[in-house]
Symmetry: C2
C-alpha cells in the first residue's frame, strides 16, 4: 500500500484524487489546499487541511498546483528527505526545493472538472532525480494507469510542446471552422463526425499516411477558391501556412521557391 | 424501393455501394466505372459495366468520380430528364449537364478504402435544383444515414472549406507533433489519448469553451520557451500564428499592436 498526500485542489488534483480513491494499492492520507472549500464534498473520505504545518507522513507528496506556485509551495513543506513530485509538463524537477527527494508525475491529458476521464488510459510520464525513488513512483503510476512511461525532462518538454499543437491549436482550428460555417448559416455540428474520424484515423495510421485533401493533391483550383472564400485575413494566413506545411511534408521535391510564393500570396 | 446507379468506383462509391446494399429501401441496379477491375468482387451482387451506352433505367444516378471528371461524365450520359446527383463538396450542381435534373448528395466525412465508416452517422448534405426532386433524394439519404440535411451550395462550400481546417490542417498539426516528439526520442503514441479527447470534447462543448493552454492564459514564459525549443522555422511560424489566433479569439480587448508583434517576432 502506497500512501500519498495531494497538494492542490484544481483539475488535476481532483482527477488524481478520484483515481487513487478507486485504486486498491493507494491510500490518500491527506489532501491539502490553501483554500479548503472545493474539497469539502470529500470530507468524509479523506483528511483535509489548509495548513501546511499540519501535513502528516506519507510515501509520496504530489504537488498539483499552478506551474508558477510549485517552487514556492515546495519550499514551505515542513519536512525533509521525502519523495515530492509535481504534475507539470513544463516545470523542471529542480524547481522543487532540494531539501526533499524530487520527481515528476505528468499526466499527458487535458483535464477539466466536468469531463470524465478514464484514468487507466492516461499516459503517465514519470521521472525521479534519484534512481532509488523510481520503482515506487512507477508502482504508484501503475496503480491508476496502464500507460506509465519513463520520460526524461527534454522528452517531457517536447511532449508538452507537441500537446499544444494537438490540443490547443487543433481546438483553435475547430473554432475557425465554427466561424466559417456560421458565417454562411451552415451548422458546425455537421463537422463533428469528421472531427472524431480525424482523431480516430491517427490511432492506427501515421499522420503522414492519413493525410488527404487539396493541399496534398496540390489541387490549385480548389486552394485558390478557398482563399477567395476566406475574408478573415488571419484565417487566410493560417490556410496558406498549413497548406505550405502539408506540401513540404508530402512533396519535398517541390521547389522551395514555389512554396514561398504560396506562403506570401 | 428506390433504384440507383452508381458511377465511379473510388472511395466514396465503394462506401455508398455498401451502405445501399445493406439498406432495405434501396436497390443498386447497376454500377459503372471506366475500369471494371476494382468492382469485380461485387460481380455476384450487382450488374457491373464499363460502357456508358449500356446504362439502364433507375430513379437516381450518383456520380462519385473525381471532381474534375464530373462535368464531362455527365455530358456523356445517354439519357435525359432523369435525376443525376454528384457527391462533391465543392462542385456546383450546374456542372452536371443540364439535359438531366440535377442535385447533390455530399457525404461530409473522410473516406478511405480500408477504414470502416458507420454510414448511419455520416452527415449527408443534399440539394436539388428542382423542388420536386427533393423528397426522393431525401428519402434516399435517410435510407442510409440518420443525419440528412438540406444544405445550399454556399453552405456546402463553407462546410467543405471548414472540413479542410478540421481534417487536413488538424492532421498536419498531428504530423508536426510527430516530428517534435521524435526529434527528442519521445513517443508520439503518448499523445494519442489527448488527440481523441480533444475531438471528444467539442462533441458537447463549443471549441470556444473547450480552449485551454498557454496561448489562452497568455502565459508568456511558456510561449517564449516553446518558441525557443522549435528549431524548424515553419513550425515556429505556425506556433506564432495559432497562438495569435487563440489570443484574438479569447481576448478581443488585447491591443492589436501587441498581437501583430507576437506574429512577427
Ligand atoms: N489541466 C490540465 O489539463 C493539466 C494536464 C497536465 C498537467 N497539468 C499540470 O498540473 C498542475 C495543476 O494544474 P490544474 O489544471 O489542476 O490547475 P488549476 O485547476 O488551475 O488549479 C490550480 C491549483 O493550484 C492552487 N494554487 C494556485 N496558485 C497557488 C499558490 N500561489 N499557492 C498555493 N496554491 C496555489 C489553486 O488553489 P486555489 O484552489 O486556492 O485557487 C488550485 O488548487 C499544473 O502544474 C499543470 O501544468 C495540468
Ligand atoms: N474521399 C472522400 O473523403 C470524399 C468525401 C466527400 C466527398 N468526396 C467526393 O466524392 C467524389 C469521389 O471521390 P473519391 O474520394 O471516391 O475519389 P477516388 O477514390 O479518387 O476515385 C475517383 C473515381 O473517379 C473515377 N475517375 C477519375 N477520373 C475520371 C474520368 N476522367 N472519367 C471517368 N471516371 C474518372 C476513377 O476511375 P478509376 O477507378 O478508373 O481511376 C474512380 O472511380 C469526388 O467528387 C469527391 O470530391 C470525397
Amino acid at each position: 500500500m502506497i500512501s500519498v498526500v495531494i497538494l492542490g485542489a484544481g483539475n488535476v488534483a481532483h482527477h488524481l484524487y478520484k483515481a487513487f480513491f478507486s485504486s486498491e494499492n493507494v491510500t490518500v492520507t491527506q489532501w491539502y489546499n490553501r483554500n479548503i472549500q472545493s474539497m469539502r464534498p470529500f470530507n468524509n473520505e479523506v483528511q483535509l487541511t489548509d495548513n501546511l504545518s499540519q501535513l502528516i507522513e506519507a510515501d509520496i507528496y504530489i504537488i498539483a498546483v499552478s506551474d508558477d506556485a510549485i517552487s514556492e509551495l515546495s519550499q514551505q513543506l515542513p519536512f525533509e528527505d521525502r519523495l515530492v513530485v509535481h504534475t507539470s509538463g513544463s516545470v523542471s524537477p529542480y524547481d522543487i526545493d532540494m531539501k526533499n527527494r524530487r520527481g515528476i508525475l505528468y499526466p499527458l491529458q487535458t483535464f477539466s472538472r466536468e469531463a470524465n476521464i478514464d484514468f487507466s488510459e492516461v499516459p503517465l510520464c514519470i521521472e525521479t532525480l534519484m534512481r532509488k525513488d523510481y520503482d515506487q513512483l512507477k508502482e504508484l503510476g501503475q496503480s491508476i494507469s496502464n500507460n506509465v512511461k519513463r520520460v526524461n525532462s527534454d522528452q517531457r518538454a517536447s511532449l508538452h510542446l507537441a500537446a499544444v499543437f494537438v490540443n490547443n491549436f487543433t481546438n483553435q482550428l475547430f473554432r475557425i471552422a465554427h466561424e466559417i460555417t456560421e458565417s454562411q448559416g451552415a451548422e458546425f455540428d455537421l463537422l463533428k463526425p469528421l472531427i472524431l474520424e480525424t482523431a480516430n484515423k491517427v490511432q492506427d495510421l501515421s499522420p503522414f499516411k492519413a493525410q488527404t485533401g487539396p493541399a496534398k493533391r496540390n489541387d490549385k483550383k480548389t486552394i485558390k477558391r478557398h482563399l477567395k472564400m476566406l475574408d478573415n485575413e488571419d484565417h487566410k494566413d493560417i490556410y496558406k501556412l498549413m497548406t505550405a506545411s502539408i506540401q513540404k511534408t508530402h512533396a519535398p521535391a517541390f521547389s522551395i521557391k514555389k512554396l514561398k510564393k504560396i506562403k506570401k500570396d
